[in-house]
């Protein structure tokens, strides 16, 4: 029974994988390839958010700041210094990881809504620095002319999906391990977690740095896709967008938010041609989800599966009792 469910899951993943790998060869329209690539990168960012918000339960409004750090690192290193792309990407991830480590010291003196506000301040700080530090970030004009490291969009498409699956597997393995359990323990009851021997501060810091690194990676990848870095791209509204996508997908499920990143990115492409409309639509969607589908898409799906299982179990019980009376 269990094995069959596993095989079905594996089959689904393989079919999906094959579909994604073959798709660019059939898709004539570059627009859709670009859209898929952006969605994959957004999915990476949303997973980064889910590690911190969905599992450890700390809501950050400043994660786009780490995306900005990653983005500008890769942009400045490739265009101004001439560092090859892989090295620049690595530097971007490491620098955003280091910055999140530094930020984690003041940030985790706070909790709850105060943590959100504190990280919001950090996000604003990154924006202000990017806006004013003209020598490195280009200020208002940003950095232009970042080369696509793969020559074409199709290459980048494969790279984005490869990274997305890699991050998904890496993080999923961690989440399924006792460390993930410790994260959830902190989310459920931080005081008790500490009293059962979880080094809560270290665990939180670890999750924050991991999240920051993933966000940095996503930011760096976005900027290479767009081929320019601008201070307006990584503001608080991007943080909120990522957060809302995670909530709509179902925080604490990792895959739900990743899927939501695709769905919403596509929906928004058609619904919100004006950027300002995006957040309004997100706001309405968020309210609807919170009211009618608590737990987001993935959470609702899991609840339905549970309910179905419970009903089937009940059915079995009835049929068993019926059999036993029949044999008497």
């Amino acid at each position: 029974m269990l094995r069959r469910a596993y095989a079905a899951k594996l089959g689904l993943v393989l079919v999906l994988f094959a579909f994604l790998m073959v798709m660019p060869t059939f898709l004539e329209n570059q627009f859709y390839i670009q859209l898929f690539t952006t969605s994959a990168i957004m999915a990476i960012a949303v997973m980064g958010m889910d590690v911190l918000f969905g599992y450890v339960g700390y809501c950050s409004f400043g994660q786009a700041g780490f995306m900005g750090i990653g983005a500008y690192t890769v942009a400045a290193l490739t265009t101004k210094v001439g560092v090859p792309f892989p090295l620049a990407l690595l530097a971007a991830v490491l620098l955003s990881g280091f910055m999140s480590y530094v930020i984690s010291f003041p940030a985790f003196r706070l909790s709850g809504i105060y943590f959100a506000i504190g990280t919001l301040a950090f996000g604003q700080l990154v924006f202000v620095i990017a806006y004013n530090w003209t020598d490195v970030t280009g200020g208002v004009y940003g950095i232009v002319g970042i080369n696509n490291p793969f020559g074409g969009l199709t290459g980048y498409y494969y790279f984005a999906f490869l990274m997305m699956f890699a991050i998904l597997l890496l993080v999923r393995r961690l989440i399924k391990s006792p460390v993930g359990e410790a994260f959830v323990a902190i989310r459920e009851n931080e005081k008790l977690a500490e009293s059962t021997g979880v080094a809560t501060l270290k665990a939180k810091r670890f999750a924050f740095v991991l999240s920051g690194m993933i966000m940095g990676l996503a930011g760096a990848m976005l900027v290479c896709l767009w081929s320019f870095a601008s201070s307006g791209s990584f503001t608080v509204s991007l943080s909120l967008e990522v957060l809302v996508i995670a909530i709509i997908g179902g925080v604490g499920t990792l895959i739900g938010p990743a899927i939501a990143a695709f769905v919403l990115n596509f929906v928004m492409q058609y619904l919100a041609t004006i950027p300002a409309l995006r957040l309004i639509i997100y706001g309405i969607l968020l309210m609807l989800i919170v009211m009618f589908l608590p737990g987001g898409l993935a959470g609702t799906y899991l609840r339905l599966v549970e309910a179905l299982k419970a009903r089937r179990k009940e059915g079995e019980k009835i049929s068993v009792s019926f059999d036993s009376t029949g044999s008497e």
């Binding site: 393995r173 961690l174 399924k176 391990s177 006792p178 460390v179 359990e181 410790a182 959830v184 323990a185 459920e188 009851n189 005081k191 008790l192 977690a193 500490e194 009293s195 059962t196 021997g197 979880v198 080094a199 809560t200 270290k202 665990a203 670890f206």
Partner: protein, 255 residues
């Protein structure tokens, strides 16, 4: 030598001396009670011993190791389990996961090694499942393992809290009002369990309001009032101690 020694514990909240120079020591295999009227500082003493609150002064020695400077989770690792006053659980997890979570601290010496170990083998805690089931049977929660902790009734939540504390493999178990809000049957269940825990060689420290139940189980009792220890002795001595009677019933009118 005593298992747990607390020396000169003090804590001040603004103008209030919540705990004032309290010392006590707990022998192995002992059930040690701390009683006192409401607001006497009993829970604060616990929070100071387990480093949930920073101490103003005082020394804590656990099993021969000075843990005064340790953080809460390090003290837990050294062998001090505790429960909280209002049933605190990982409420959205199943009962057995609640127990398993408490095994986290035993996986490695420090956080980094725990991460590496659990990353290498994510199922590392699952081997403990059988042990967790034994523990659930011990506290009397067999059959509830698949339920969500928040769906348990109050009495069972209390038992689960004890289970979580026991799962950290303590040498000393600190229980903050384990009988709070329970009916007489549930109270009997918990007091029996506490006696059973002592038999396995774990010392127990209890804070309790319900003086009658505590008299039955404790070997040694400290009485706290206004943050100060006003008496210590076995239950019989405590019952006859005039200072204790005064604290609980109020001073006699001075003619």
């Amino acid at each position: 030598m005593s298992l747990l020694t607390v020396q000169g514990l003090s804590k001040r909240f603004g103008g209030l001396q919540a705990v004032d120079d309290v010392s006590f020591s707990v022998e192995p295999d002992e059930i040690f009670g701390i009683i006192g009227p409401n607001g006497a500082g009993k829970s604060t003493i616990f929070n100071l011993v387990t480093a949930n609150l920073p101490r103003d002064s005082g020394q804590v020695i656990l099993d021969g190791v000075d843990v005064t400077k340790y953080k809460t989770h390090q003290i837990v690792l050294r062998g001090m389990g505790r429960t909280f006053q209002d049933a605190k659980l990982f409420s959205s997890s199943t009962v057995v996961d609640n127990i398993l979570s408490a095994g986290f601290c035993r996986l490695g010496k420090n956080f980094t090694s725990i991460i590496l170990k659990s990353y290498a083998r994510p199922s590392i805690l699952d081997r403990e499942r059988e042990k967790a089931m034994e523990l659930l049977a011990f506290v009397g929660l067999r059959g509830y393992e698949g339920q969500l902790a928040r769906n348990l009734d109050h009495g069972h939540q209390g038992l689960l809290q004890l289970g979580i504390a026991l799962a950290t493999q303590p040498k000393v178990l600190m229980l903050d009002e384990p009988l709070r809000g329970m009916n007489p049957t549930e109270k009997d269940g918990v007091t029996d369990l506490i006696l059973k825990i002592r038999e396995t060689g774990i010392a127990v420290v209890i804070i309790e309001h319900d003086v009658r139940s505590i008299m039955k189980v404790c070997d040694q009792i400290s009485v706290i009032n206004y943050g100060k220890k006003i008496a210590e002795g076995d239950p019989r001595e405590i019952r006859d101690n005039p200072a204790v009677i005064e604290a609980y019933l109020g001073a006699e009118e001075v003619a």
